[in-house]
């Protein structure tokens, strides 16, 4: 089994990411974006992230990335979760980069990965076709057209779908195989409907009508790549959810240490202490799972999809618990917009839903376990 402590390089990167997110992408930035003129992310912050090497953390050096690996990228995702950093990092640096690395041809890798690593090309991954992630094969149809393809169908739950320059789309070929395809923003027959979500981030519904597309790598291998791609996405969403849960817990602890009733801090009450201690323990155990999943992606481990489903399920459950307990223990002010705890609750749910919530992954875990 892989070691479950960070090495020195990963520790340094974690510290740097925590500092960066706290300084450059704090919760106040999310509030400003939400209340501002509709910019989906802060361009200067994204440029600074690119300088730090974040979008290229998974991309090998030969393609312009930093090659830090999944454990390291997970630390960045967790740091972003702690400040609710609203950036294209997940859709571009995790989903987009991994799609190209897993499925892309050599020419596509050479062309696209350096742009992704530099933060110049934003990506989105369009998989779901219903409001809940199902894990079923796509109904969106791909048809050969000249030396390329066209897509017809609809996708939903597409994070950054309205701002991406490049959209990775799963679709079924005439032979019934699942393939991954690239669609460029502004392509003909592509209709984009933006949906503002509870977490103040935009997701998109995409409709394709004979929309021109290019196959990502070999079409026949798209199904296998998609499975691995979703596993990668879920491991990193688990890391983000650990960040959301961890910071929600810390903010709540700080609040109960300060809030006085009956002449004492409410942190002195056993009823509050036991709930906080239970929550802390749950987060630590979810953290172990997320770390094992990430290091499994780096080093390879038997039963990785099962481990990743366990990690996502537990992280989602713990983020629910942390934010529910957080609002409750904040009392009345937990219901106000002025306090951050509500924003953590509003991020925890969509991050859990994306590519399968706790129930989806508990079910998948059971199936993969053989029962």
């Amino acid at each position: 089994m892989a070691t479950l402590v960070l090495d020195d390089e990963q520790k340094m990167l974690r510290e740097a990411a925590l500092r960066f997110m706290a300084e450059k992408a704090p919760v106040s930035q999310l509030r400003a974006l939400r209340d501002g003129d509709g910019a989906p992310y802060d361009a200067a912050t994204w440029a600074a992230m690119a300088e730090m090497g974040f979008p290229g953390a998974l991309i090998p050096e030969e393609h312009g990335g930093a090659g830090f690996g999944h454990v390291a990228m997970g630390q960045i995702m967790e740091a972003g979760g702690r400040t609710l950093a609203a950036s294209p990092l997940f859709a571009t640096g995790v989903a987009g980069a991994s799609a190209v690395m897993l499925a892309g041809s050599d020419a596509q890798k050479a062309d696209l990965l350096p742009k992704i690593a530099a933060g110049e090309l934003l990506c989105a991954l369009a998989v779901d076709e219903s409001v809940r992630h199902t894990g079923k094969a796509p109904a969106t149809a791909a048809a050969p057209s000249g030396d390329g393809w066209t897509l017809t169908g609809a996708k939903t739950n597409v994070a950054d779908g309205a701002i991406a320059g490049l959209i990775v789309v799963s679709a079924v070929t005439p032979e019934g195989a699942t393939g991954l395809f690239l669609v460029e923003a502004g392509a003909s027959g592509l209709e984009v409907e933006t949906v503002e979500m509870a977490d103040s981030r935009a997701t998109a519904i995409l409709r394709f009508e004979s929309t021109p597309a290019a196959a990502l790598g070999e079409v026949g291998q798209g199904g296998e790549a998609l499975g691995r791609l979703l596993d990668i996405c879920n491991a990193h969403l688990a890391a983000e959810l650990i960040g959301v849960a961890g910071k929600a817990c810390e903010d709540t602890l700080a609040y109960v240490q300060e809030r006085k009733q009956f002449g004492v801090t409410i942190a002195s009450f056993q009823a509050i202490q036991h709930r906080a201690a239970h929550l802390f323990g749950e987060i630590e155990q979810a953290r172990s799972l997320a770390l094992a999943a990430l290091s499994g992606l780096d080093e390879g481990v038997e039963g990785l999809p099962r481990l990743i489903s366990a990690a996502k399920a537990k992280a989602a459950a713990v983020a629910d618990l942390a934010t529910n307990e957080g609002v409750q223990l904040h009392g009345g002010v937990g219901m106000t917009d002025a306090f951050d705890i509500g924003l953590f609750m509003k991020r925890a749910r969509p991050a859990a839903q994306l590519f399968g919530d706790e129930r989806f992954h508990a079910n998948r875990f059971a199936t993969l376990s053989g029962y």
Binding site: L4, S268, Q273, A277, L289
Partner: protein, 393 residues
């Protein structure tokens, strides 16, 4: 790293050669557990041989110093040994409160004389220990204990009563908390002393439990003479040592939910009793969901046990793990047995007779209810986490 790989290869070869085949079978009942001690009856020759061979290498206490009968292994080597034993499903050669509880305290605070007297016998499984902590009036409030030890020059005269003393009726020696001072704070008048359970005036009475078994005792002390040389560390400093031992106990109890990946595959193990649908899923979707959630939590717990060991090895030891793991591990074990009993239906509730292993599961299920009470209740553990780790006050 090379050294560690060499060590792994040597260990693997040695275990292959020396671990009897029957010691690689899952533990099925109490008699499969080797407790050692003066009056212990080995279930079979393999059990005796396995203990003797492992003790011969010092591997009953892998990280203890060799001079006292331990293996002298580094934490990394000990982890390799654990992994290699797990690889072949080797049983623990010895289950011992001496190794898991009093031994570490003797190593840390005991006199050289005490170390030489007790540690080698602990490693060889010659002396079985019990823990004299709780009293009828001192449970969660352990520091309120009243068992009195009067200074009589070269010995203490001990009078009082302990309760929930696990296996006191089978133990050879006791490590016992006694009150040597009534002045100042209650924590500052406690002494940790060792004495033989055959000393006149010691009486252990088993208590019949809801599981039908009697592993806990009421233990009475009437004018028991205990040699002063058997005081661990300093007089009136016993509370510090007691807490240290409790930390080790918590680790041991939390390992109940953590060892043996055999117990983790609850879903697959339930297929026979519950049945499967045409897709091979457990034929009760709600039970299947409950089991999946338990297995996920259990996996998170086991990885946290490993992480705690990895962090300790990397010198990042954070003291908060023992309370957290004790709480989580015992609650998980209780949940496991609830689910197992549910999966087995009425068979899980059978008590006597030939069918369903004569009620073994029902008794194990009831026994597990003590997991979150003994060694500090779940509520005490949560309080420790809240105060000592989270700084809540």
């Amino acid at each position: 790293m090379f050294d560690l790989e060499d060590f792994r290869a040597d260990t693997r070869a040695w275990l292959e050669e020396n671990c009897p085949a029957s010691m690689r079978e899952p533990v099925r009942d109490e008699r499969d557990i080797c407790w050692g001690g003066r009056n212990f009856e080995f279930k079979n020759e393999d059990q005796r041989l396995w203990l003797e061979r492992m003790a011969g290498r010092g591997w009953t206490a892998p990280t203890w110093p060799e001079q006292y009968g331990g293996g002298g292994l580094s934490p990394e080597q000990a982890k390799v040994l654990r992994e290699e034993m797990a690889r072949i499903n080797a049983r623990e050669p010895l289950k011992s409160f001496g190794i898991s509880m009093v031994g570490p305290a003797i190593i840390k605070w005991g006199s050289e004389e005490l170390k030489q007297e007790h540690l080698p016998k602990i490693c060889r499984g010659e002396i079985r220990w019990c823990q004299g902590y709780s009293e009828p009036g001192a449970g969660s409030d352990l520091a309120g204990l009243q068992t009195k030890a009067e200074d009589k020059g070269d010995h203490y005269l001990i009078n009082g009563q302990k309760i929930w003393t696990s296996y006191a009726h089978k133990a050879d020696w006791i490590f016992c908390l006694v009150r040597t001072s009534w002045e100042g704070k209650k924590q500052e008048g406690i002494t940790l002393i060792l004495f033989d359970m055959e000393t006149p005036g010691v009486e252990a009475r088993p208590i019949r439990l809801i599981s039908g078994a009697s592993v806990f005792c009421e233990t009475f002390f009437t004018d028991v003479k205990a040699d002063k040389k058997q005081v661990v560390g300093e007089v009136n400093k016993g509370w510090t040592y007691a807490k240290y031992i409790l930390t080790h106990e918590r680790e041991m109890v939390s390992a109940i939910g953590g060892d043996a990946s055999a117990v983790d595959a609850l879903g697959v193990q339930s297929l026979d009793a519950v049945g499967a649908d045409e897709q091979g899923r457990l034929d009760d979707p709600i039970l299947r969901a409950d089991i999946a959630r338990w297995e996920i939590d259990q996996l998170g717990f086991r990885l946290t046990l490993e992480r705690a060991k990895d962090e300790a090895k990397a010198g990042e030891g954070v003291g908060h793990y023992s309370a957290l793991l004790k709480y989580a591990g015992t609650e998980l074990n209780k949940r496991r047995l609830e689910l197992k009993v549910a999966a087995e239906g009425m068979g899980g509730l059978a008590w006597e007779g030939q069918a369903w292993k004569g009620g073994a599961l029902a008794k194990e299920w009831l026994r597990s209810k003590a997991n979150s009470i003994e060694g500090g209740t779940s509520e005490v553990q949560l309080g420790i986490i809240a105060k000592n780790v989270l700084g809540m006050k």
